[in-house]
């Protein structure tokens, strides 16, 4: 007789869709939920169901939202003329946690990668220019990966904004804070040299 029933196996298999969760971890999670934490399991299941039923993509910035337009897009205090372009909702959360940016966002949900079948139409770029125009944006800040795909996407955005009068900036590239130079790859060091900043003296 199998130690795990088909229903339990089904849960284990479902949990393996999560990043970093293999069969062993998924088995441990499943047994934890089904053995002594059935209320937690019900809460988890109902939370996911509710979120699936209500969470949608913000009509303006494409971030995940409970309403048609997300809280950031409806917050008038965030209408400072700055729009930060990010690849994923997780990137947006990472920037929000720093508390350094007070403008609005635009989430692409990917980067241009023709070899993977991702062109402008597969990203949310179709609504980018209306978002810039309707939001009276003066500066677009590109906060994308420094990979070839990130650079290609940045270049595409720069072409979209050509002659628009909107300033285009990009997050600085270089040595990470707290990092040791000896462990930084040569490409990063090259870029850090090219984009070095003048110190007050």
């Amino acid at each position: 007789m199998a130690a795990l029933t088909p229903r339990i196996e089904q849960v284990i298999h479902a949990l393996q869709c999560l990043p970093g969760v293999g069969r062993k971890t998924a088995t441990r999670m499943t047994l934890f939920l089904l053995q002594g934490h059935r209320e937690d399991a019900e809460h988890l299941a109902s939370s996911i169901n509710e979120a699936l039923a209500t969470v949608t993509s913000c009509a303006k910035c494409h971030n995940l939202s409970d309403a048609e337009v997300c809280d950031i897009c409806t917050d008038e205090r965030r209408a400072n003329g700055q729009l930060c372009v990010v690849e994923t909702a997780a990137d947006l959360v990472a920037i929000e946690e720093t508390g350094t940016f007070e403008g609005r966002y635009f989430v692409l949900h990917g980067l241009l990668s023709p070899i993977d079948g991702i062109g402008p139409d597969e990203l949310s770029l179709g609504t980018f220019l209306p978002c810039v125009r309707d939001g009276a944006i003066r500066e677009v800040i590109v906060a994308l990966s420094t990979t070839v795909e990130g650079e290609a996407t940045t270049h595409f955005i720069s072409e979209l904004l050509e002659n628009s009068g909107v300033a285009l900036t990009q997050l600085a590239h270089g040595i990470p804070v707290g990092g040791e130079l000896g462990y930084v790859n040569s490409r990063t060091i090259t870029q850090a040299f090219e984009r070095r900043v003048k110190l007050d003296s």
């Binding site: 023709p114 070899i115 993977d116 079948g117 070839v148 290609a152 979209l160 040569s186």
Partner: protein, 239 residues
């Protein structure tokens, strides 16, 4: 153990820390490789168009990288990036896993190196690569003679193109025919005239579609960003 210099044409995340790579080796082999721990601190970051010294134990199918060191950092930027992405898509479309196609790697390296030059003429680099790639795959286009008769292309005549039959003389200057002098220019990679560039683009596109499949290459949509902007703006204006 195999030690080769490679270009990575495609990379995908595999688990939290590893990458699946599709690479073109210095022996012109298209290899699929697993790079374990690629996203860990201290690992060589993998990007497209850069050259890497890699080693792996040879086997059929997916190989696991034993070492990976950066040899040359790509400096592609701007529209040259789009052109490079187009070249990558083309190579992937034309080659199968573990297939060796002589001259593809030198052709690829030549294209990437040319694109890195600040004054690179993208059309010329792409057309030259397309010609060389088709030839490497065994689908060489003969721009200097008629395939069926073997007659040399005459600069004063007009020719029709068929991806299988090649060029055949046309009685009249039809809308779909190409002047002989244009074909002769393409045969020696002389793309100065706009007429030659346009003809080369159409003929090679036709041949690539026929030999590599009619599904549109996605990278072409990047090369027309301005057109996309007009479409998006136009669509919004009508809303």
């Amino acid at each position: 153990m195999l030690h080769e210099t490679c270009y990575v044409l495609r990379r995908r995340a595999y688990s939290e820390t590893s990458l699946l790579l599709e690479m073109l080796t210095s022996e012109s082999r298209y290899v699929h490789a697993m790079y374990r721990g690629a996203k860990r601190n201290g690992s060589t970051p993998i990007d497209l168009f850069s050259e890497y010294a890699m080693s792996w134990r040879p086997r059929d199918g997916l190989v696991t990288l034993r070492s990976c060191e950066l040899k040359h950092v790509s400096t592609l930027g701007g529209n040259a990036l789009y052109a490079g992405l187009y070249v990558n898509e083309l190579v992937r479309r034309g080659m199968r896993e573990n297939q060796v196609v002589d001259d593809v790697q030198p052709a690829y390296q030549s294209a990437v190196t040319s694109l890195e030059q600040a004054e690179a003429d993208l059309d010329v680099v792409l057309r030259s690569f397309e010609k060389r790639f088709l030839k490497a795959l065994g689908f060489e286009l003969e721009f200097h003679r008629e395939q069926a008769t073997g007659d040399v292309i005459s600069s004063n005549s007009n020719y029709l193109f068929d991806p299988i039959l090649g060029f055949t003389k046309s009685a009249d200057a039809e809308e779909t025919s190409y002047p002989g002098h244009v074909l002769l220019n393409i045969s020696v990679n002389r793309f100065e005239q706009p007429e030659t560039r346009q003809a080369a683009k159409l003929i090679l596109r036709d041949a690539l579609y026929h030999h590599l499949g009619e599904r549109a290459l996605k990278a072409r949509s990047l090369l027309s960003a301005k057109q996309y902007r007009e479409e998006v703006s136009g669509a919004t204006a009508h809303d």
